[in-house]
């Protein structure tokens, strides 16, 4: 399995590693979003815009997420995330994720280790590569 991403030009002029994906909404439609590939994030967290697009009723926060920006309330979201698969086309990840309703705390959804931990993660700016590699795919490091 090979999940391709890209370096995405953001609003502050910085390029960040992202993967284009979709989240399954309450209406059974897929809503497009970008996921930041954050190798330090323990969990996958949806941003406020992604949460709104899902159309799910907002539950009271049941957990808190902490980072350098402090601690923020998060709501649980049971849904499916769909990512591109360079081999078969698409792959889905169904489970319980978290969402942050405050856009100033998280402006982009984050792909955390609950998903990235299933893969080797390549975030290579000089080589212009962002991808997750697993199962029948491998990567190799060569001396040139």
């Amino acid at each position: 399995m090979y999940i391709p991403g890209e370096w995405h030009f953001c609003d502050d002029g910085t390029e960040r590693p992202v993967i284009r994906g979709e989240i399954l909404a309450l209406t059974s439609t897929w809503e497009k979003t970008l996921f930041l590939v954050d190798t330090g994030a323990d969990r996958t967290v949806l941003s406020a815009d992604a949460l709104a697009a899902l159309g799910v009723p907002t539950l009271p926060p049941d957990q808190r997420l902490g980072g350098l920006g402090g601690v923020v309330d998060a709501v649980p979201v049971g849904t499916t995330i769909r990512l591109p698969d360079g081999q078969t086309g698409k792959v889905t990840f169904r489970g319980q994720f978290a969402a942050v309703a405050d856009p100033d705390m998280l402006d982009m959804s984050v792909l955390g280790r609950d998903i990235t931990g299933l893969f080797a993660v390549i975030v290579d700016r000089p080589g212009d590569v962002v991808c997750l590699v697993g199962q029948r795919h491998r990567y190799a490091i060569h001396t040139v």
Partner: protein, 105 residues
Amino acid sequence: MKDPECAIVVEEVTDPQELAAAQVQDERFERNVSWLREHAEEVYSHHRGKFICIAGGELFVADTPEEVLSLARRAHPEDNGRYLRYIPREKVARIYVHPRRVAFL
């Protein structure tokens, strides 16, 4: 206490119809992302602190994601490749939250 780290179920999509529909959606999304790329400077400089949505190659702006989605869906109901996002208030270096469980209510 709830366990948030429940198992993730991984499945490869093999349904040709779903894959074909996804490809169409991907192409629409790419068009909207490209539109923003071409208009980035203008959009980012005028709409900080707002939610934006690009659909059908048209920009929509609002204070909430629900509002901007409503505008975009009404104008371009056929475009399921909408590009919705929030423009942070400030251009600052970002250290994204490294989410870790600290407490459960």
